[in-house]
């Protein structure tokens, strides 16, 4: 155990801090997505040009050849500097890197990491949510093309994306998660329609993608036929880890804002409020420590496994507890900021649903980590 930066890590952190001090924009993050997207994208481009993106990717694909520790330091320092939220797209580079052909890696990976081309993830469908293996989108081979028909949903930032990493059924006879393949789909192909989904808090970061006779070249399959499930599980496990999502600094900022609310309302000395605040603060420390542990385990290079469901459940629990606290503390109707806190709280309710519902995460832990007997039926 040693939570100190190594000499190398310390140098990295110092350089990063200096850069952030000069480059984090003064204006704060716009609330409306249409303004927030270019704001986030511009900062991420600036980060990339300065060499702070794709830290743990090899240099030959546009990364920095560093490790997960540097990714963690980046996440911490961005939070400390109150920097714009990063686009949560880094995990889509992983499957491209791992399963892509030489040509695919060369063609797609660098523009993805450089934020020149935006990617999204086409996994869920209206009838295939937690049960991803029941997906119905199908791809049929016709000569040198695949013809894709289907309907994807819950695609993050789909409205802004250029490419979609899409799952489709290529073998209609294979059962469930066999027979699924992964494709690289340019979203400007004829037959693709993208429609934003408005969330309860007004957010439009998700979208639906309709695919109607969409033709893509045969070489746009990622990996081998029927590799789709394996690729999807890799992505999902990365997605579940807290580290790459930038949640940690965001939560810390929220907590500090709640402290300000308390102080302003004169409740700072109230023991009930202090106990609640302290409880959430403890949970945030737990999230931080658990992320450090997860990161350390990743230094070996092994992709995350079913234990990432612990990370996901923890992250969800911390977010929901934090948001519940905000609703408990900001209860005077019409008090300033109440509607904004409520929007965050509403968004937090989605945490136990997307990326596999809390129920699915518990199934995974029970059967794959604890070895309990399979549920019957």
């Amino acid at each position: 155990m040693d939570l100190r930066d190594s000499a190398e890590e310390a140098r990295f952190r110092a350089r990063l801090r200096t850069w952030l001090a000069e480059n984090v924009p003064d204006e704060s993050e716009p609330a409306v997505l249409a303004e927030r997207w270019p704001y986030m994208r511009a900062f991420q481009e600036r980060l990339y040009r300065a060499g702070w993106v794709a830290l743990s990717y090899p240099t030959d694909v546009g990364g920095q050849g560093l490790g997960p520790m540097e990714e963690a330091i980046l996440s911490e320092e961005l939070g400390r500097a109150n920097a714009p939220t990063l686009l949560p797209l880094g995990h889509l580079g992983r499957p491209l890197h791992r399963y892509g052909s030489e040509e695919q890696r060369r063609r797609y990976l660098r523009p993805l990491l450089a934020v020149e081309e935006i990617w999204c993830q086409g996994f869920s469908e209206p009838e295939a949510g937690s049960d991803l293996a029941s997906l119905r989108t199908r791809a049929v081979r016709e000569g040198e093309e695949w013809v894709i028909d289907g309907h994807k949903i819950w695609t993050s930032y789909g409205a802004f994306a250029d490419y979609c990493l899409l799952l489709a059924r290529t073998d209609p006879d294979a059962v469930r998660h066999r027979g699924i393949s992964a494709f690289i789909v340019p979203l400007d192909t004829a037959g693709v329609t993208v429609r934003p989904i408005v969330l309860a808090n007004g957010e439009e970061e998700f979208a639906e993608i309709f695919l109607d006779g969409v033709r893509i070249p045969a070489e746009n399959m990622l990996g081998e036929p029927s590799d789709g499930w394996r690729i999807a599980m890799d992505v999902v496990n990365y997605e579940r880890g807290a580290v790459e999502t930038g949640y940690l600094p965001k939560f810390a900022r929220y907590l500090s804002e709640l402290g300000e609310v308390l102080t302003a309302s004169g409740l700072g000395a109230d023991r009930a409020a202090r106990l609640r605040l302290g409880r959430v603060a403890a949970h945030l420390e737990v999230l931080r420590m658990h992320c450090l542990r997860t990161l350390s385990a990743r230094v070996s290079g092994a992709p995350p496994g079913p234990e990432s469901s612990v990370d996901k459940l923890l992250m969800t629990a911390v977010e929901q507890e934090l948001m519940d606290l905000s609703i408990e503390l900001v209860t005077d109707v019409g008090s300033p900021g109440r509607a904004e806190w409520f929007d965050r709280y509403l968004y937090g309710r989605a945490g136990s649903i997307y990326g596999g519902s809390a129920q699915v995460q518990r199934n995974i832990l029970a059967e794959r980590m604890l070895g309990l007997p399979r549920q019957q039926g």
Binding site: E127, D131, V333, R338, A339, S352, R362
Partner: protein, 349 residues
Amino acid sequence: MRFALSDDQQFLQKVTDEVVGQALAATPARSAATDGGELRAALWSTLVELDLVALLVPVEHGGPGGSLTDACVVAEVLGRHLAPVPYVGTAIAAAALLRFAGGPPAALAGLAAGEPYSVLLDQHLADPDGPDGPDGPDGPDGSVSIAFDWVAGARGVALSPDGVATTYELAAGEEVDDVDLLHRLRRFDPVPAAAPRGDDARRARAMAWTGAAALLTGLADGALATATEYARQRHQYQRPIGSFQAVQHLCADMLVDVETSRSMTYGASWAAEHAPIDEAMRVAAAAKAYAGAAAVRVCETSIQVLGGIGVTDEHDAHLRLRTAHLHHAAFGGPDAPMLLLADRILEGN
């Protein structure tokens, strides 16, 4: 002792359910958030015609002479349908304040005739022992400025410092950006006001708390119905999700919350009107505290069962959760009833 709705009350429940159900089948509740008040006004006049708004107005002022239980039956149905009308504010809270705290007879008669009244919220006044005391950030000592369940043309009702229900013209004012999209709040110039300390004002408070509890119970019941219906139809892993024990248990916990909120609310609907004032306050406080927390819990769980669609703007689930939070917070904040109950126990020692 008889803990059950009378035949008349069951009929009232059925009629209200049909009328409101039909109206909202034609025009969904959510449209009230953007239609400039059209649906709200249409639904309100239906309720006025059926004499449901005047239930708490005494016969001598033109009311039909109903009970708080009657009004709670209506409020529960409105909550179940997520009806965008100012029923709790006008027909229960304002009516009780006017009736018990010596409000002007003309106001009661006007209310019976369908004139809208909006309660000026005393969230900063309701917890005399709280850290805020009666001095809130909204204005000078003992003043209130936020009208609850406001509609265009509504007069405001508040307890003036001498403990008498007083009405105010609410000419100007600005929309308050709170969480509920179907029940409106509006901020006006502050008027002086007192915490409900006298027995009459406390009776009115007990009735407002109970009315909110009834609406909250209805909201929860609707959320439960939506979730179980979805759980029966939605298939994942080649079976209805309602056949998974995890989903079943979420639904079962919702049912417990709904049924126990209902018991508490209807018990309070009798006690808040008829029991000695200390008991009335105690029971109404329990109803408000419990039904509020339960409704929030149930609306959250319902969203969990609904999955992705439950967090979209187009589904009503968030409208329901929003309305639950507003009513949980209204009339003194969520903590005031619990502090009152605690102090009863501590005083007993």
